[in-house]
Amino acid sequence: MTATTARPGPRGVPRWVGTVGWGVLAWVVALIFFLPVLWMAITAFKPESAAETWPPQFVFTPTLSEFRLAITGMGPFLVHSIVATVGSTILVLLLAVPAAYALSVYPVKAWRDGLFFFISTKMLPIVAVIGPLYVIALHAHLLDSLGLLIILYTAMNLPLAIWMIRSFMLEVPNELLEAARLDGAGRIREMSSVIMPVISPGLVSTALICMIFAWNELFLALNLTVTNAATMPMFLISSVPQEGLYIAHLSAAALIASIPVIIIGWVAQRSLVRGLSMGAIK
């Protein structure tokens, strides 16, 4: 089906009209969905005086002044977010790879129960335990620490990672495994020289998904950290003043906070589907 064929479609309308109409409709819808993001980006480049006008201004002299204002004081938040995100993702992979292995390659007897246990923890609402979690963290001297965020973000992402990595391990061709076994490879070598190379792209997508969730997390950070471990979402909240004009400033901060994940997501679109469906959709 190409746009140049003039064959009539149903009801005598040339087929290309339908094709073009379809494309236009799809683009309009896409732009509507993207509009709030676009508006955030546009507003971020306005001076504050141009952001609070009626009607909203679409033509203005772009400025970086709000970005400059927004990034002052952002440093610690950024560092905390990076440490919590990267730290928890590494820990997730260290725990999830062996677990996925034990649920797929040489499965334990109750591998099915194991899989469902992990996913069931994802359904328990963390909000229900926030008070006691605070008390535990307090007594363990973990309150307001990056260690606490790493521990909790790891637990949050581990089920997803196990399911996902397992789905990649199941894809390792049997012939490769058999060939390695015939060569007398033990389980360690089989893992390092056959399985790991095949699943490493999968590990990258798993890591990206975990990073997205950890980076964006607010609830735990808000409840359990104050200054020593406050992350980017909290930086964002702090950029909203109690009074005064703030729309351009907020947009700049929101853009900075969101952009790493937006870029990761754009780059890893394919793996996004797989990760979000916990490995169900390839």
């Binding site: 335990v129 006691p132 969101s258 754009w266």
Partner: protein, 313 residues
């Protein structure tokens, strides 16, 4: 892209080779143990502690130590209209947002399934809302988008007779749900699109040859094919949306009044504003029990969804 993973995938080696010795069994368990122990410790201990506090009278702001009060926290939970209100609102917000996002997701997926100029870019634009940090999305909607005086939404709706509506105070619930739908429609779109693209082209061709119209084909062939994908999307979407906190906290702070207070925000308030650890714990335990009831159905659905291609193997 097809859904091929399922729980019935034959394991790499026999699950339990005859005569598998004690040593082999432990050798297999060993790699699982760190993750298993980790998850048990980190996710189950807080629940046990929650259970403990749910029977205690314990306030942050009171110097009195926690002491046993029996079921009084639970009595409060069950007689407290604000807990019930938050529960009902939570269910309403989740169901509305998930269904609306799914309907939009199917529509967008159908749009994106056809070839058109710049499809890749359009797809990228559509998934972006999902990638925006939820806190950022909430604040951008609350300010630049929905501000009564400067907001883009009022400007775009002005030709339709909408003038400076203070969305967050007059249409708070609608505003919050809109943001939830906006963020989760891309997720549904991606999952349904994967389903559409896994539909065998021959089936559709055959239907066309048989003279079936586009609508009939969609209803009779495509929708049944999409069913497991739609179920998966609804299931996963619900898991995340029932816990929505950022949008409520940052857009409306649960208000006006309690009109947007869902369960997560209610529990947050109990701990942070009412300082009532015991009461919040009891409410938490009730929430967890309700979740377990719902989740046991969800898990069954999970098992079904993840096995739907078993027959093909």
């Amino acid at each position: 892209m097809t859904v091929v993973e399922d729980l019935a995938v034959p394991p790499r080696t026999e699950v339990l080779p005859r005569g598998m010795g004690r040593r082999e069994r432990w050798l297999r368990r060993l790699p699982l143990l760190p993750a298993l122990i980790y998850v048990v410790v980190v996710t189950q201990i807080p629940f046990v502690v929650t259970l403990w506090y749910s029977f205690q009278n314990y306030f942050w702001n009171s110097p009195a130590p926690a002491h046993f009060t029996g079921f009084s926290n639970y009595t409060t939970v069950f007689t407290n209209p604000s807990f019930r209100g938050a529960l009902v609102r939570s269910v309403f917000m989740t169901v509305t947002a998930v269904i609306a996002a799914m309907i939009l997701g199917v529509a967008l997926a159908v749009l994106l399934d056809r070839k058109f100029f710049g499809r890749g870019v359009a797809r990228t634009l559509i998934i972006t809302p999902f990638l925006v940090m939820p806190a950022a999305a909430a604040l951008v909607w609350a300010g630049p988008m929905l501000d009564p005086n400067f907001g883009l939404v009022n400007y775009l709706l002005a030709p339709f007779g909408v003038h400076h509506v203070a969305w967050l105070s007059t249409q708070a619930l609608l505003s919050v749900i809109t943001v939830m739908i906006w963020q989760w429609t891309p997720f549904m779109t991606l999952i349904v699109l994967a389903g559409l693209q896994s539909q065998p082209a021959e089936t559709l061709e055959a239907a066309k040859v048989d003279g079936a119209g586009a609508l009939a084909t969609f209803r009779e062939l495509t929708l049944p094919h999409l069913r497991p994908y739609i179920e998966l999307g609804i299931l996963l979407g619900s898991i995340y949306l029932v816990n929505v906190f950022d949008a409520v906290r940052l857009m409306t702070n649960g208000g006006p009044g309690t009109s947007t207070t869902n369960l997560p925000f209610y529990l947050y308030q109990q701990v942070n504003n009412a300082f009532d650890v015991g009461g919040a714990a009891a409410a938490g335990v009730v929430t967890v029990i309700l979740t377990i009831i719902v989740a046991s159905f969800a898990l069954r659905m999970f098992a079904r969804v993840f096995q739907f291609e078993e027959a093909r193997a």
